[in-house]
Amino acid sequence: MNVASLIFTPKFLATIIRMTTPLIYAMLAAVIVNRAGVMNLAVESTMLTGALLGVLFSTWTKSAWLGFLLAIIGCVLLSLAIGYAAFVLKADESLNGVAFNLMMQGGTIFILYLVTGSKGMSNDLQSKVLPKWDIPIIKDIPFIGTVFSGHYLLTYIAVIMVIFVHVLIFRTKFGLRLRLVGENPQAAESVGINSQKMKMIAMCLAGGISAIGGCFMSMGYVSWFQSGMTAGRGFIGMASSTLGGNTPLGGSLASFLFGTADAIAITLSTLSIPGEFVTMIPYVVTVIGLVVSSSLSGKAGKRKGDKK
């Protein structure tokens, strides 16, 4: 089969959108904490936890939306714990994030085993799936309809969330204070802003938003939880945020780039290229993206020597 004929199809473009969706949520979570000046590596773990909680709560409540909501609340609480360790108990932010990532990697499997007796998948659970949406009129347009219509509702909500976070950061009092805390906490304190509180709020927002990304993975993209199913998407989201200059709009573009790499990997896996090589693609693109962006900004930041 020809590679080009696989890639230039409306179905492929739809796959890009599907793969970009969870990255957008992770990216937004990263944008918020980065703006608050927090090095939060735990986006991966809140995302993974969100995926598991969505499956469990939707099974127990027999409602997809209720499960979704409870998953978000659960991840906000988890973020509170991460923030408490980092800001109140003064644990090293990066190590703290790594610790929580490792803890939840094992913790989600543990909980899954307690509930289902399986350490790998949650197929036995009657978990619910969040609805899809066919956009009226557009769905009937050939090509465009296939690309843009019929995705899970969370994909469309992602677009709204991008705008929401943009407005939150750049148009509200809260956002202004958040940016000041992130850039110069001393200046913030000197005008009476409690920087620790602001960082905590940012952590909670990030936890909730990344949980939505996790739910998309387990209650839409697939209909079950699988151990380690986020597969580094939290980290790629952080990379997108950095690449996009910590703005929701720029970050969305970067997420789209990585989503495309993901989509290519999926599409190529049907060919006879080794699967291990194909799964590397999104991560290789991430590394290249980060190197290019930092070398560009490094050049701009270097001062010119006025040698005589």
Binding site: F174, L180, E189, S190, V191, I193, K308
Partner: protein, 531 residues
């Protein structure tokens, strides 16, 4: 409100607004930074607070602004006794401070930086247009020429300073503290700032102006309080003083220490610095075309008000900082491109002014710190392993010779007092028999006994034909120890004195404060390499 402002400006300088009485502050390391200091400021005046670095003016202002709690003393503001335990309290009491290092966020606009914390709003939204309007009208009222919607990243240092002042005005503070505000400004910008400060004064604001620039204080201020060595040296009306008086009060020496310094002939040039230039990150020319020679067996003093380029100069010579242009020669060999280890191999030792960060590793033991510059020394072990016994005996020997007070060589350096810490650093740097020592503030903040020992050590090194570059802000030290002397002002060598004995401290003060300057030709001739 407008009427009230009018009324104040019509009255002359008023009653006492701020009164600090008996302020004493001892820092954790035992430094007595403020000793029973009294400080009074009247309503509506511009009051200068002058003193050398380390004189205690910053500490006094930290106490006033709530950064430090005093160990003793009271603060009375506008007739009420107050306790100021944090900058937040100070701001609430109507005190505003402009630090030398600005408290601004680069990615926000001028207006955002000014209003953040008390923003105008429409519901949850930040009312950007209104913020810009408020800032513009505030700026206009006091003649500040700023563009409210410009990003702070894109504005000049001078504009940043105006932003800081506007931030204070926006919060309705009545007392404005400016910490060496002109240090980063060009003369034209300084003029503009002074116009604005006078305008603020006419509007009833009270200003404390921290500075060590005499001419500026004489131009701008109504009264001056002078501090020296943590003590209050008096408060005067500016009109009663001459520049010479201020200089004498600031830098006059009170203790005369007798240091025995036998005559010793100078040898050949060992270190030569040729037209060094360096610009800091604010693009200030902090090392401006410096050239000089250091000879064997010579102590060359470097005097100057702190921040005149001493730090950068010594870091360039020792390899911590690359120069923008210029060269450093060691016994005639160009070492400008060499790394620190290479320079040390040539025989250069360095006593850094910051002993806690650069001088010693705080958590490691005395012994390990003593050998940290020579851990590849074949005398101290084989290629792979260190010889603990040999190291121990070397350490014990050095501890005895430099009388470091400690229980054992295993004690971490951070457990020592400042003086003993510095002895460890000096012992290490001199234990390798260097040909050149760059000693930057070697005796700052340490006890008299340790000072004496370090002075003796430096003189001994000189007798062993070592060249000593002694950078210090302690005038006693520089005049007593140096054979010859360079004076720095604003990054430039403004004076070179071949024979320190002929120099009076008053004369030196005038050079240090930039009131006197040798011509470029005079200096060039004096520093010319005669070899």
């Amino acid at each position: 409100m407008q009427e009230e402002v009018q009324k104040i400006s019509n009255t002359k300088i008023g009653d006492i607004y701020l009164s600090m009485k008996g302020i004493t502050k001892v820092y954790g390391n035992g430094v007595l930074a403020n000793n029973q200091v009294d400080f009074e400021v009247r309503k509506g005046e511009i009051h200068a607070l002058m003193g050398e670095n380390g004189a205690g003016k910053s500490t006094l202002m930290k106490v006033l602004f709530g950064n430090e709690l005093p160990d003793a003393g009271t603060i009375t503001l506008d007739g009420k006794e107050v306790t100021i335990d944090s900058p937040k309290t100070a701001v609430a009491l109507g005190i505003g401070m402009v630090y030398q290092h600005f408290n601004l966020a680069d990615s926000l606009t001028i207006a955002e930086n000014i209003v953040v914390g008390s923003e105008p709003n429409e519901g949850v939204f930040f009312d950007r247009d209104n913020a810009i309007k408020i800032v513009n009208s505030l700026a206009e009222r006091y003649g500040f020429n700023v563009k409210a919607d410009e990003l702070v990243r894109n504005i000049s240092v001078c504009q940043k300073q105006k932003t800081e002042i506007l931030k204070i005005l926006f919060r309705d503070s009545q007392l404005i503290i400016l910490d060496e505000p002109t240090a980063v400004l060009t003369p034209q910008e300084t003029d503009e700032l002074f116009e604005q400060l006078k305008m603020l004064k006419d509007n009833g604001y009270t200003i404390i102006f921290i500075s060590h620039k005499i001419d500026e204080v004489m131009r701008l201020c109504d009264r001056v309080t002078i501090m020296r060595a943590g003590r209050h040296m008096g408060t005067y009306d500016i009109s009663d003083l001459t520049a010479r008086d201020i200089s004498r009060l600031m830098v006059g020496r009170d203790v005369i220490q007798n240091i025995e310094k036998p005559d010793h002939p100078m040898g050949k040039t060992v270190l030569k610095v040729d037209e060094l230039n360096f610009y800091d990150k604010h693009n200030v020319h902090v090392v401006n075309n410096m050239s000089f020679c250091l000879h064997k067996g010579e102590i060359l003093g470097v005097a100057g008000v702190e921040g005149s380029g001493q730090k950068e100069m010594s870091e360039i010579i020792t390899g911590l900082l690359p120069p923008f242009s210029g060269k450093v020669f060691f016994e005639g060999e160009d070492i400008t491109e060499e790394d620190i280890a290479g320079r040390r191999k040539h025989g250069m030792s360095h006593i850094h002014e910051d002993r806690m960060t650069y001088g010693a590793a705080m958590n490691e033991s005395i012994e390990e710190n003593l050998i940290s510059i020579r851990n590849e020394d074949p005398d101290l072990g084989s290629k792979l392993f260190l010889d603990r016994k040999k190291i121990r005996s070397l350490a014990e020997d050095l501890i005895k010779r430099f009388s470091v007070l400690c229980k054992s060589p295993d004690v971490p350096v951070k457990m020592l007092s400042g003086g003993n810490m510095q002895k460890v650093v000096v012992a290490r740097e001199l234990s390798v028999s260097p040909k050149v020592i760059i000693a930057n503030q070697p005796t700052r903040g340490i006890d008299v006994g340790a000072v004496e020992l370090i002075h003796k050590t430096l003189i001994e090194a000189r007798e062993n034909d070592c060249g000593v570059l002694l950078i210090t802000s302690d005038l006693n030290e520089v005049l007593d120890l140096s054979d010859s002397l360079i004076v720095l002002h604003g990054g430039k060598i403004v004076g070179y004195f071949r024979d320190v004995k002929k120099l009076t401290e008053e004369e030196l003060g005038l050079y240090m404060l930039g009131l006197k300057e040798q011509s470029e030709a005079e200096i060039r001739e004096a520093v010319a390499d005669e070899d």
